[in-house]
């Protein structure tokens, strides 16, 4: 097995694993850049996965009757609804941590418990069991016409999910928004020095609400995409730590959208190694546990060694109280 074959095996699945993490980590960038710690990304992803799956199950039959085109829209509509609901749900975190000046980490932990509780309660209530059925209309992988025929690069990069391409594209959009627009400048200034921002007439609370709500929207997409490509149903174990991984990717990427995307791709790569390792000549003799823990150990090593001190936004985690110094 040549190196090209190995790459053709690993790269598509790395991108595939990374996509939900990229969405969610980008959401984290918005929230934390505005100065609000968002450890609730996990819960927001749970909410996205829950809504995505439930909407998909509900609308797939009526849309199916309307024809193939509408049926193929099912996962997209589900994800859109998941995005909206998760954004609304994240307002709880915003109210607690901005208006009520709650400890943001604590509020985030509460969001995680709350999302899972609500999701499982409603599943039990609506379906009378602990998990949903499998969805009929998940996301399917596609071979991009034309591009797929390019040798080597084609099968490596252009046999995948549309959602993955959107995720990568979105990272650049978020980079542009945060670094090249007035809105992004305001968002960052509120996270670095809210008093200075306030003096310049920026509404600190409004910016922070916006940051948190955007993180809810993005994490909702991430959760829905994850559920509709990987697990294809919703249970207590659908989202098992992906939100925390996205949080790690964001910090690993130094609170920068493109850095977060890079870190998410790295996690995806490590995860795909642990799954495909058994069919790769050099790796198949290594006990699988080492491949399983590799992404996490590598992250720790990378944080300690390569990138050094991560510089968080200065005002992160502290509520802004007008008039205090």
């Amino acid at each position: 097995m040549g190196i090209i074959d190995v790459l053709i095996l690993i790269v598509p699945s790395a991108i595939f694993f990374a996509a939900p993490l990229i969405f969610t980590a980008l959401g984290g960038v918005f929230s934390e850049r505005s100065g609000v710690v968002n450890i609730g990304l996990e819960g927001l992803m749970v909410m996205g996965a829950f809504v995505g799956v439930v909407v998909n199950l509900t609308i797939s039959a009526p849309l199916n009757e309307m024809g193939d085109f509408w049926a193929s829209l099912t996962p997209w509509i589900s994800t859109l609804v998941a995005m909206i609901v998760a954004a609304i749900f994240s307002v709880i975190h915003a109210i607690a941590s901005v208006t009520f000046r709650a400890d943001q980490v604590v509020s985030g932990v509460a969001i995680n418990f709350l999302a899972l509780g609500i999701g499982l309660f409603l599943i039990e209530e609506w379906y009378g069991k602990g998990q949903t059925d499998m969805v009929n209309q998940p996301f399917y992988s596609v071979q991009i016409p034309g591009l797929y025929d390019i040798p080597v690069i084609g099968p490596m990069f252009f046999d995948g999910y549309i959602t993955s391409y959107i995720a990568i594209l979105l990272a650049f959009v978020v980079w542009y928004v945060i670094y090249k627009t007035p809105f992004g400048l305001r968002l960052r200034s509120v996270g670095e020095h809210p008093m200075a921002a306030d003096t310049n007439g920026i509404n600190v609370s409004k910016m922070r609400y916006t940051g948190v709500i955007l993180s809810g929207a993005f994490a909702g997409i991430g959760g829905s995409v994850f559920a509709l490509t990987f697990t294809q149903n919703f249970s207590h174990a659908t989202i098992a730590g992906q939100g925390f991984m996205a949080l790690a990717a964001m910090i690993f990427g130094k609170w920068h959208p493109l850095g977060a995307m890079g870190a998410a791709l790295f996690f995806g790569f490590a995860q795909s190694l642990s799954l495909t390792g058994s069919s790769i000549p050099l790796l198949q003799d290594i006990p699988s546990v080492f491949l399983m823990i590799a992404p996490y150990v590598l992250t720790i090593l990378a944080l300690a060694g390569f990138i050094g001190r991560a510089e968080a936004p200065k005002a992160i985690g502290t509520p802004y109280i007008k008039g205090s110094r």
Binding site: T299, I300, L303
Partner: protein
């Protein structure tokens, strides 16, 4: 800004619990259940007879210790979200000592618990050290360490402790916390002597933090690392020490499961949530020893009682919502303080 007296500090968690339970009742009403029969079923499921009571204590025991672990780190200004992984390694270490050795009970049982504490402490050392030495965020490292613990423990169970089995042997009687007397007393529940160890753990935490110089330093570092450094304390060493002690508590929590409740360790596909629930316990308990014990008791009661709620038709997940809301209310203590101060003013 607001009166910060003892009474308010006790009132906030109590008000939060009441608000949480009230919200639960409202949710039950919205979905057409009778909240009174729902909560009655919960109460019966936790205290209805000797068996349920025994199981409630079984649930409370590791909660106390994992809550102490989280609380101890919080007091030093650190967030140990890695309690989950530290519980795992403690559990595995205790079962390992419990199955591999044959010693008299007076040595074997304390040794197994001690090794569990050391294992948890060693797991806690990693995020503490990386935070102190390289300034790496402890939350991220501890989250990563949770996964490393989960997969490593599974691999060790499969390849070292057993021959490709999903479950270890039962621990030897000389390392077991189980007691037929306690079990008979509570209608053959799994009640074991662990709860005594949990209470001792709470006393130890209170003693270290409130009565020793080291504890004073740890708290000082939590309040203000810069001032502590200026006063001549070694902030970095205190960060590491706090994480080791915190991990030690978590390791003992794992030992409670390994030597008491289950007496073995099996391969886990996902986390047990003992550590994550410990975060909720510590927060409600105000990161104090006594508060943690009380909060563990409340959450243990809710979790065990929930299993019986389905007898009144209410999905047991309702309790998870209630727990989450309680934490949210505790976190939003500012607004409760504000309401209380308004209330007092009107009285005058």
């Amino acid at each position: 800004m607001f009166s910060n007296n003892r009474l308010t500090n006790i009132l906030i968690p109590v008000i939060s619990v009441v608000l949480g339970l009230l919200s639960g009742a409202i949710i039950m009403l919205i979905f057409g259940y009778n909240p009174i029969s729902g909560y009655a079923a919960l109460w019966n499921g936790a205290f209805g007879d000797a068996y349920f009571f025994g199981e409630t204590i079984v649930k409370v025991t590791p909660y106390i210790l994992s809550g102490l672990a989280v609380a101890f780190a919080f007091r030093t200004g650190l967030f140990n979200i890695g309690v989950e992984g530290q519980v795992f390694v403690g559990w595995l270490a205790a079962v390992w000592v419990g199955t591999a050795m044959d010693l008299p009970m007076v040595i074997h049982l304390p040794l197994a618990i001690l090794v569990a504490a050391l294992a948890g402490g060693a797991w806690g050392f990693v995020p503490g050290f990386l935070k102190a030495r390289f300034g790496v965020h402890e939350v991220i490292v501890s989250i990563m360490m949770n996964y490393v613990a989960l997969y490593t423990c599974n691999a060790l169970i499969r390849s070292v402790l057993t021959d490709n089995d999903d479950k270890t042997e039962y621990v030897n009687d000389s390392a077991s916390l189980a007691s037929t007397w306690l079990s008979d007393l509570t209608g053959f529940s799994r009640l074991h002597f662990g709860f005594i160890i949990a209470i001792i753990g709470a006393i130890i935490m209170w003693f270290i933090l409130e009565k020793t110089v080291k504890g004073y330093e740890l708290r000082a570092v939590g309040y203000n690392p810069h001032a502590s450094k200026y006063a001549g304390m070694n902030v970095n060493r205190n960060i590491i020490l706090s994480f080791i002690i915190s991990g030690g508590f978590a390791g003992v929590a794992g030992a409670m499961e390994g030597l008491g409740t289950f007496q073995y360790m099996s391969v886990n596909n996902a986390f047990t949530n003992i550590g994550f629930d410990g975060i909720a316990v510590a927060l409600l308990g105000g990161n104090a020893a006594l508060g943690t014990v009380l909060a563990a008791f409340l959450f243990g009661t809710l979790k065990v009682g929930a299993l019986n709620m389905s007898s009144s038709g209410v999905p047991q997940e309702l309790v998870d919502i209630v727990v989450a809301l309680i934490i949210l209310f505790v976190a939003s203590g500012y607004i409760i303080r504000w309401a209380l101060s308004r209330f007092k003013k009107e009285e005058k």
